[in-house]
Symmetry: C2
Subunit: 391 residues, 2 copies
Amino acid sequence: MKIESVDFFYVSMPVVTTEADGSQDALLVRVAGGGHVGWGECEAAPLPSIAAFVCPMSHGVCRPVQDSILGQNLATPADIARMSAQVAYDSMDLLQAAHTMSGVEMALWDLLGRARGEPVWSLLGYKTSFPKVPYASRLFGDTPQETFAAARLSRQQGFKAAKFGWGPIGRGTARQDADHFAAAREGLDADGILLVDVGQIFIADVERAAERLPALEAAGAVWLEEPFQAAAYEAYGALAKRSGKVRLAGGEGAHDTHMARHLIDYGGVGFVQIDCGRIGGIGPAKWVADYASARGVTYVNHTFTSHLALSASLQPYAGLEGHRICEYPAAPKPVVEAYMANRIERDGNGEIRAPDAPGLGMQIDAAGLRRYLLDVEIKVGGKVLYRTPAI
Amino acid sequence: MKIESVDFFYVSMPVVTTEADGSQDALLVRVAGGGHVGWGECEAAPLPSIAAFVCPMSHGVCRPVQDSILGQNLATPADIARMSAQVAYDSMDLLQAAHTMSGVEMALWDLLGRARGEPVWSLLGYKTSFPKVPYASRLFGDTPQETFAAARLSRQQGFKAAKFGWGPIGRGTARQDADHFAAAREGLDADGILLVDVGQIFIADVERAAERLPALEAAGAVWLEEPFQAAAYEAYGALAKRSGKVRLAGGEGAHDTHMARHLIDYGGVGFVQIDCGRIGGIGPAKWVADYASARGVTYVNHTFTSHLALSASLQPYAGLEGHRICEYPAAPKPVVEAYMANRIERDGNGEIRAPDAPGLGMQIDAAGLRRYLLDVEIKVGGKVLYRTPAI
């Protein structure tokens, strides 16, 4: 089939706050061809990502993403890889292109899977979609009491694992942070899997990060996530040598496979966390899953938004039985729930798996999408390059 | 002074082609505060870069660049570094932010220099702006005869050095490429400095790049530039071990100091080429110049557009006497000449230097800018977020 159209839908909560909660808006992508439709989602700033799709060409290797997609032939996974390679080359100087392409690429897999009646994980070469242990992904409370309550709630909701992120961690003393780690442990009980995410707060300062290690180890944290900037590989590598039982985790900032690979090779992470909505989509993420798996590094999805993004993020490692943990948005904002007509529910064991259904196996609720849809219009030189499409 | 306004101007040739010529459009930035005005330029896709400045916030670390700039206090270089750090953190998940900030940061230096009556290189701590040997930056011809003619023209125009880039190189056989390298050498005469740029054509394929090395060495090429993708450090490192007298060059794709540093540490380049319009501006570029200098790596600017961008790109290494080569746009498109009221001319030795004048020392020709200015309008939710400002 030929790719006939690519449409972007920018949805947002009426009010967006400075909270580190990425589910306050979303950018959905609808790709159509051959009588079929596929959906994807960029984990990205919506407006610049739309602009990267429709902008005028600047020169031969600074072309809009659409030039590598519209009218292209899609029959096999190799066609998706070809389009990705063309974006990487022809949009080399357009930094935002990777984030834009991520949602488009996801939608191409969904489209291909639907056209062939096959789940994406099967198109990727997996025979089985293994169950994963979802961890409830939450923000740290402002006080240890709030963190305790959030941990307790996670257990009450049936989660065996919980991740706490951002909030006050790294902004005060190591002693204050230790109180939060201990509160999270207490709330999760002794057998809960505790994961900690500090959102790049230490930039590249190994000593400040290392100060938190004893308390993390005492609380039995399995990983310390994103202590540093995404490309501060040496800082990761230096901390990894000192982190003992607490393994480092990172990778959500990777916008190409090189970055993920370098975090493994130079950064010494034990867990590599890939957001399919940023790294260029499902194909690049699968490449990282294979690379990590071959090196004894555990692959984990990074997903903080919708169940469409969740399904996409499970596909690259659906068939890796030993890579068990998965991020599960536990308390997303209404906007990213409104446009889903179905969800990925936990089974009797509290586990989830990539759907055994064509494509990504997720259905869009058009009425819910319309409820949060923003009207956007971009004009250049008197010509409308983008206007929110009909749904 | 307080930063009172930041305005973007998108100028373009009436027709933009797929030629690898980055001077076909430009994004100018005007920053005003305390009765002074500074100018900068993003080396970036203009529309997504504007969008990254004005877009609605997505969450706490996906904020528009403007949130870290407007209303900020600017009195010293440390204030610029503070704003850069804030963009890096608060716009962590906005990929395009680095390209947007690059032009803004440049304009902040220009503004500060004008307000203090001091050249930017002096604000950076240099005592002298040393002369540089400009190389004429050109594209390879479609045939060796055209490449020969371009090389001959460079000598006739008084350039001791010339760089040839892109075009057919790497798209045919190593033998065909060798004819181009030999033609360039012949056109430059025996004493001309020959530089070769292949624009990431080999992606990460070390063998295909290595096939070109004998002909490059035979032609006396000083460097082979960008054989691979910007972050394919291992490929650079592997080729560097085999490249003999031909040193590797790269770095123009660096959008943060980490990438430039890694190209030195892991990629083994002999020349690191930084575009101030991409790496985040003049401050990050100066950091790379210091880092390179301390490790015996030669710093070179990357500049293919206006003399405003050229002045900015000279500042970070103006005071490094031994780092002599500089890129000089030899045949830019009229659009990037139209908005300059002055130029950086070669002296009697055919050399240039960063201007000994306040700020970046360059004047904008408003009438020329208006001639190529595009009308852009971006509306979200019924609100105009951007409209081409008056000049």
